[in-house]
């Protein structure tokens, strides 16, 4: 049960959604954009989130697009993880999201919700970052298009009124060789201790990581090191680990030292995967 009252809106256009958000905010209320609602419901129940209004974006046609068109895969922010896995346009993305939560919940979680929700792992972002995908954001001043990895950047990221409309992946990335490695503390289905994905574009492998820092990331420095074939795999990995771009998580899931160890074994696995493909 959600123990407080809130308003529910289901706008039919992006403009209406953004206007609603702004007008609710000007009226001193706290609105949130609403996709699948899994986190809103489970967190509001125990007073961990509070909102005065939800704006359900699933009635907006653009947010429900899911197609390959003109050399691009477009996925609306309201598309569920299950739908993405079933149509399977982007196998690495399908594989990654099939390891988010359980099958029942995957049918509720939307792509936009996973990318922007309060849970820090946002694993759906990993294949999108590795493929330099872009995100279409709508706000008061219309739409803008940024790299997925920039939505977690304080300056380039979303301002509070903005919503994600769609993700755009260039089709040349869809069927590249890939690796996906996920480790949890102990469970088959759980938040990641660490998840990494790799995508190999001609000679270079791009990597994206979740569960290492408080946000998912790609690191050019780590990628350069990891792609440097002149040194041994072990040395590459160790050097990459010293170049992690932020504070390493240290929590109930695992200590930061353990995460480093685990990342080492996982990177080794991923690199070997790519070698075997060759």
């Amino acid at each position: 049960m959600i123990p407080f009252n809130f308003e529910y809106y289901k706008p039919k256009t992006i403009e209406e959604a953004v206007d609603l958000f702004n007008s609710l905010k000007s009226a001193g209320k706290k609105p949130v954009y609403y996709g699948g609602g899994t986190e809103i419901i489970s967190m509001a129940r125990v007073h961990n989130v509070h909102m005065d209004a939800v704006i359900d974006i699933k009635g907006i046609p653009e947010c429900n697009v899911h197609e390959v068109k003109d050399g691009e895969l477009i996925i609306g922010s309201g598309v569920t993880l299950t739908e993405i896995a079933e149509l399977n346009f982007f196998p690495l993305l399908s594989l990654t999201i099939k390891r988010i939560a359980d099958h029942t919940v995957q049918g509720k979680i939307t792509l936009g919700g996973n990318l922007m929700g309060p849970i820090i792992y946002k694993e759906a972002s990993l294949p999108l970052m590795a493929s330099n995908s872009k995100v279409i954001i709508a706000g008061r001043n219309g739409k803008r298009k940024v790299l997925v990895r920039d939505i977690y950047d304080k300056e380039k990221g979303l301002n509070p009124c903005e919503m994600i409309v769609q993700i755009v992946v260039e089709d040349k990335f869809l069927n590249l060789p890939y690796a996906h490695v996920k480790r949890t503390k102990n469970e088959k289905i759980d938040y990641p201790l660490i998840t990494i994905v790799g995508l190999k574009d001609e000679k270079k492998i791009s990597f994206a990581f979740s569960g290492i820092c408080e946000y998912p990331f790609r690191s050019p420095k780590m990628e350069d090191v990891l792609n440097n074939n002149s040194i041994s795999v072990n040395k590459r990995i160790k050097k990459a680990i010293t170049n992690i771009p932020g504070k390493i998580l240290n929590d109930l899931n695992g200590s930061s030292e353990y995460r480093k160890f685990m990342l080492h074994t996982m990177l080794k696995e991923a690199l070997l995967d790519f070698q075997e493909v060759e």
């Binding site: 007073h47 503390k185 102990n186 469970e187 109930l252 030292e257």
Partner: protein, 778 residues
């Protein structure tokens, strides 16, 4: 055909698989009010003030209650716990106030509006801190509390609730006869029961003062008795009703929310009030499983015969005694495990900490000493270079041995441990070896352990059965054990059907327990339902048959001794064709030409524990149960030496249950126990922050084994009858859990080549133990 040992569909199976079965929380009524607690965010703090004014003004609120309203102290062993904290809080999650409102939504909203001003106190966050001479006192009045259990001895000016001593044999002689001495320290954290149905209760006070409580309890009669005692209400004015219970595992044996429901109803003029835990409250506010620490020293000859055992256990009871001291006693009295040890010295201490308070949990403390003993057995085997299985065979308890409490062992009151070990040897393919390096580098390892357990009930624990009959000759069976999941209502019906030589389909079981209607059953705990109620139902059947025969003897013009009963019919032994059907007898017999005799027949039977003796305070001499079901278990894992992770491959149990009544449910119970044991071994634990806050209060962070993560389960039954058990049956419900954590730790220790004496054993712990816990970046 016998109905014992035959897979029998549960009486409630169709209700449960269709969702028609109603649990207490399903019974919502339009006139019910809702109550909810506000819990403490501190582990130890003074309550300076509570401002309820805003909450009282909130929509729909009828009452906001603090500890000053109806201040009472509760506890079945030591009366030390206020249902709502007063003046100070002693654990994170303790109720500090309660709101009663019309709707659940209103009550949740208002609870947030209560303002409490706390003054944090130093926190006692571990057993070590609790027993330190500088430890802050958690209960200033320890030593002055009333103790319903007169054997406990709380020590004034300390955090020590009780100290149980076992002194058997001559320790000096034991050590002298030992060629080798091993020792170890173990730690098992507190954890949660995690029954699927969270605890809930409804209370109403009728205009004439009768109190009606419906609850998800394992102990409806204890609810009645404790509410009566604490609030001074005549027992007959209290009616407790329990429908199906959605799992309990010991967690619903303590009277907990029932106090709150009653207080809430009182505060609103007796109106019907419901209180139901959220999962988070069920984990952090209601009582949990004990935490334990131990030091064990064991001596043996070079041949592997154990000569001496010295053990010290500390039981972390948390903030209130709960059932903790009785589990500490259970640990001490059975501390040897199912092994013959002549010289035993054991101290078992119960201590207060600022952790969650505790109640019984599957195994009733026996997991703690079984873990320590089974790790010790493997260490001994290792030091002597002996086979872990052989060393257990050599020391297996048998007829003529004595317990640590000096009570006598018979084959009937224990069973055949050696047969269990041999069965296990087969089922886990011990012959192929217990540590096998696979071609892919993985290490397959097997660990084993033996277990036993008794009931540790009060000396007068008792059970009754009442039987009435329908005019078609079918039977209504009524007894006071609550159906918490193991299918015991069906098991008892099977025993009755077997005794009456009739079809179980013609036995109708009263599924609920109502303290006004059902004969008392002590509590649905201690794996004792089949044994106690089973014995009572046999007596009830005998009573019923005696009456039927007496009446039939009149009708058939013979003596009752000449008659027998089968297929709902009473007949002459020497001429079975001549007889009379139940349906003509059970409501009284009517002569063909008119006039009738007798009237409705009612059968009754009872059982009370026999020959139990409280432990002597100095030596621990005494008897804590009527029998000790025992067995052997094994766990097989596959260990990855590169990643320090492991997979569970197999878990096996061979248990001597005396006689299996319903094989499928018995198997399910043992498997469920093994699953919980693997949960304790691999992941379940309460994690407290430095200031005593429970950090994993939800299922996002508190992990247990999920379906699909389970290994293959193997269950074998050995049947050495218990002479005084119903058809030879011994208790079995809890037992699957007991040696699994020890067997798992033995398997992991063997695979890794390091000692694991703490639970749970996570991959990170293995990595830390093996590498020192530092990632080498060079």
């Amino acid at each position: 055909m016998s109905q014992i040992g035959v897979d029998t569909l549960r009486k409630e199976a169709w209700d449960k698989v269709t969702g028609a079965a109603k649990y207490n929380s399903d019974r919502l009524e339009s006139n019910m009010l809702n109550a909810r607690i506000l819990t403490s965010p501190y582990a130890h703090a003074l309550i300076k003030s509570i401002d309820t004014s805003k909450a009282l003004k909130s929509d729909g609120v009828l009452a906001v209650i603090t500890g000053d309203y109806l201040p009472v102290l509760t506890g079945s062993i030591i009366e030390d716990r206020p249902p709502i904290a007063r003046d100070k809080v002693r654990y994170f999650g303790e109720p500090v106030a309660m709101v009663v409102a019309h709707s659940e939504q209103e009550v949740m909203k208002a609870t947030k509006l209560i303002e409490v001003d706390y003054e944090p106190l130093p926190v006692v966050n571990s057993i070590n801190q609790s027993i330190s001479s500088q430890a802050p006192l958690i209960h200033e009045n320890i030593g002055k509390y009333f103790c319903p259990d007169t054997t406990v001895q709380p020590r004034a000016g300390s955090n020590l609730l009780d100290h149980v001593r076992i002194r058997k044999g001559d320790m000096d002689r034991g050590w002298n006869e030992s060629d080798i001495i091993i020792d170890l320290k173990t730690f098992l954290p507190q954890s949660d029961h995690l029954a699927m149905e969270t605890r809930n209760a409804v209370a109403e006070i009728l205009p004439d003062g009768r109190v009606v409580i419906s609850t998800s309890s394992q102990a409806p009669f204890a609810v009645k008795e404790e509410i009566s005692k604490i609030f001074g209400i005549a027992e007959g004015d209290i009616i407790v009703n329990v429908p199906y219970v959605g799992g309990a595992f010991g967690g619903k044996a303590t009277v907990d929310l029932e106090f709150l429901a009653y207080i809430a109803s009182r505060a609103v003029g007796g109106r019907k009030v419901r209180i139901a835990n959220s999962r988070e409250e069920d984990i952090s506010s209601s009582p949990s499983k004990v935490g334990t620490e131990s030091t064990v020293k064991m001596g043996a000859t070079n041949e592997g015969i154990i000569k001496a055992l010295e053990a010290t256990y500390f039981v972390d009871c948390g903030a209130y005694a709960g059932t903790g001291p009785r589990m500490a006693k259970a640990i001490a009295s059975d501390c040897t495990g199912p092994y013959n040890i002549e010289n035993v010295h054991c101290d078992s201490y119960s201590v207060y900490t600022n952790h969650s308070y505790v109640t019984s949990y599957r195994g009733f403390g026996h997991v703690a000493f079984t873990f320590a003993m089974e790790r010790a057995m493997d260490k001994l085997a290792n030091s002597l270079n002996m086979d872990p299985l052989d060393i257990r065979m050599k020391n297996a308890i048998s007829e003529g041995d004595t317990l640590a409490t000096q009570a006598k062992i018979t084959l009937s009151n224990t069973g055949d441990l050696k047969a269990c070990i041999l069965k296990l040897k087969e089922s886990i393919n011990w012959e192929e070896g217990n540590r096998i390096v696979e071609p892919n580098g993985m290490i397959r390892a097997k660990g084993i352990g033996c277990f036993w357990k008794t009931s540790n009930s009060p000396i007068n624990a008792a059970s009754g059965v009442a039987i009435t009959l329908n005019s078609d000759g079918s039977i209504n069976l009524n007894f006071g054990a609550t159906e918490i999941g193991p299918g015991m209502k069906t098991t008892i019906a099977q025993i009755l059907a077997e005794k009456m030589k009739m079809d179980i389909d013609n036995i109708h079981v009263f599924m609920e327990v109502d303290t006004q209607l059902s004969p008392k059953h002590w509590k649905t705990v201690a794996s004792m339902t089949t044994f106690m109620v089973g014995n009572a139902v046999i007596k009830a059947a005998e009573d019923l048959m005696e009456q039927l025969k007496s009446l039939a003897a009149i009708v058939l013009a013979c003596t009752p001794e000449e008659l027998d009963v089968k297929g709902q019919r009473v007949y002459l032994k020497d001429d079975p064709d001549r007889g009379i059907q139940f349906k003509k007898l059970v409501q009284g017999y009517e002569y063909p030409g008119g006039s009738a005799i007798w009237g409705p027949i009612i059968g009754r039977g009872t059982y009370i524990m026999k020959h139990l003796v409280p432990l002597d305070l100095k030596t621990g001499k005494g008897k804590t149960g009527v029998s000790w079901t025992l067995g052997a278990q094994g766990v097989e894992i596959e260990y990855d030496p590169i990643r320090y992770t492991y997979r569970l491959l197999k878990a096996a149990t061979a248990i001597d249950v005396g006689k299996v009544i319903n094989p499928k449910t018995a198997r399910g119970l043992i498997m469920g126990g093994m699953s919980m044991g693997l949960g304790l071994g691999t992941r379940e634990e309460f994690i407290y922050s430095d200031n005593g806050m429970l950090e994993n209060t939800s299922l996002r962070t508190y992990k247990l084994i999920h379906f699909g993560e389970n290994p293959e389960y193997i269950v074998d039954f050995i049947e050495t009858p218990q002479i005084d058990g119903p058809f030879g049956a011994r208790g079995l419900a809890e037992y699957g859990i007991l040696a699994i954590p020890g067997a798992l730790a033995n398997a992991i220790s063997l695979a890794v080549g390091m000692d694991f004496d703490k639970l749970p054993i996570s991959p990170e712990l293995i990595w830390k133990t093996k590498t020192g816990g530092k990632y080498d970046s060079l």
